[in-house]
Symmetry: C2
Subunit: 332 residues, 2 copies
């Protein structure tokens, strides 16, 4: 391979190769967790994360690149158990972008920041010649603080852990795709972009003993579970029938041949917890409006290590792997 | 104005309008300082900054987009008096980028991070379709810590302050432009991209009473001084003959009709300090290899507020304003 492919940005196998081969070595990027946890800032623990957003189109049902950029970075901080506090915004704008579109995106960012109770404290704006970007790209970086006793990582799942999924899968990816391609689904599908910090705060006030937590964005639920299985050196088994999928998403996936397990989400999470507290945590979560449909979808098993097994609705069993290419490019 | 222009990214008047009208309101971006200083993280003071890099071409004499992205964010943290510690990297890659070019950029980032003694702790990679970006754009965000007693801001310059410039101006902008346009200057011009944290540490160990400090990047020395004059509500007078300019830069500017005061720099700073410590600080700075040519180039005066006056080499006096358009787009 001598050139970068679209699939290198998919969240799947190619991206993992790229990160493993070129990005992680020599940097201090140690895991595939959503945020770095820094232990040595005057004895405080701070989480630090970054994400660039290149979603196409920039406006889609249920959100836009602005709300996505705020919520996405807020959620990345939440996934290591941090309380998000501060966000920076870096804009790369294509010459010729309509000012009204920029205003709309910025207004959406402001609302999202307010809704997630984070402060946007620094920004940067670059403009590139027409044809050298695609309307607007947004980077958001964020910092949050971690309370003592929290140690959440994709590498900490242990055998017996129950896997809680907070809500239905596939809404974001299908919403973006429908807008991009001009498809209309019935019922309509809206992105689930939203901040998960209140939900996570409620979960962590119930128990600090969450082992692993992730929001399954690019690459979908399948890729996230596979990453955790790999990083923790465990097996994972999930039950297809237990995974909530909205009717619009199901219909769209049936028609278009997408597997919803690989479709991106922006407002749900998976949490790995001890079996004895899983049901009680689930009850707690269901009181939050963003997790009313939370369910236990599976558990962690000893073997085969690094493997995700799906118990299918028709009684079969199949191995869930990462995508090697790209199902839906530029989904976030 | 209903569309974004290239000049909105210039660092000049249009960009200030864009930030003032649309970006700052509703966010907590309070000043035009290079980094936000956060006072309330468990009683620690942390600086937080972000910058996106879209320089064209990505390789140029003296550096590349990778070293630029590390050094630029390191320097933004330094300019508020912080000690840079951690960096995140967000890559937006155009499909088709040669992997060898990516490797070269990443290798340059690693070396720059090592040289500046900062750790790259988190990253993100997006890939967009061919023709929807320009090879590679890089966002770097950074955090650093501030010692007690440091309060540096572009709004804190006071009447009587001497203005120290750490080195010759215009090298970065001319180096990038020469590579982009295929010009060869004699002597050749190299970008001054480099980390200023050791220099700043030495300065702050000599005195914490630096009022304002900035690295004059986009928009050049003129724009930076004008910003400080505005933010501090003071006048500034500078002496043209005291401003060091390398022969290659001077020749290039003469031929091409550029004013070196507006050409971007990536490895120099201006510092505003009390007159009674200025000479001693200058002596201290000159021991650093990056500030051997440091000079006092002017001082802060009472009136006219918000104005920069240049005493020209031929004995005249002119007002130095911000550029309203764009002299050299995509310089960083």
């Amino acid at each position: 391979m001598d050139r970068i492919l679209l699939g290198h940005g998919s969240g799947g196998r190619l991206m993992h190769q790229l990160i493993g081969d070129y990005l992680a070595p020599g940097f201090d990027i140690k895991t595939l967790d959503d945020a770095a946890v820094l232990d040595n800032i005057n004895h405080n623990r701070i989480a630090f994360t970054t994400d660039s957003y290149v979603v196409d189109p920039i406006f889609f049902p249920g959100g836009d690149i602005g709300s996505l950029a705020i919520n996405g970075t807020v959620n990345d901080l939440c996934m290591v158990g941090a309380r998000p506090l501060f966000i920076t915004v870096g804009l790369i704008i294509e010459e010729g972008l309509e000012v009204n579109d920029l205003k709309r995106v910025l207004s959406s960012m402001r609302n999202a920041a307010k809704n997630a109770d984070v402060r946007v404290v620094a920004g940067d704006t670059k403009v590139v010649n027409k044809g050298k970007a695609d309307r607007i790209f947004i980077n958001t970086s964020g910092i949050g603080i971690l309370e003592d006793g929290i140690d959440i990582s994709g590498s900490r799942a242990v055998v017996g852990d129950r896997i809680i999924l907070s809500g239905p899968i596939g809404n974001h990816g299908i919403a973006v795709m429908s807008e991009r391609e001009g498809f209309v689904f019935e019922p309509p599908v809206y992105s689930d972009t939203r901040p998960l910090n209140r939900l996570c705060l409620e979960m962590l006030s119930f128990t600090k003993e969450i082992h692993a937590m992730r929001d399954p964005t690019r690459g979908g639920l399948a890729t996230t579970l596979k990453e955790i299985a790999n990083a923790s050196g465990v097996g994972i088994t999930i039950d297809e029938e237990s995974i909530p999928i909205d009717p619009g998403v199901k219909g769209a996936c049936d028609i278009l041949g997408f597997d919803p397990l690989y479709v991106a989400n922006e407002g749900i999470l998976v949490a790995f917890v001890r079996p004895d507290i899983a049901e009680a945590l689930l009850d707690k979560m269901r009181n939050n409006p963003y997790a009313k449909e939370a369910r236990i979808i599976g558990e962690v098993i000893e073997k085969p290590e690094g493997t995700v097994l799906l118990q299918t609705a028709i009684g079969g069993r199949r191995i869930v792997d990462m995508l090697s290419g790209e199902q839906l490019p530029r989904i976030c």
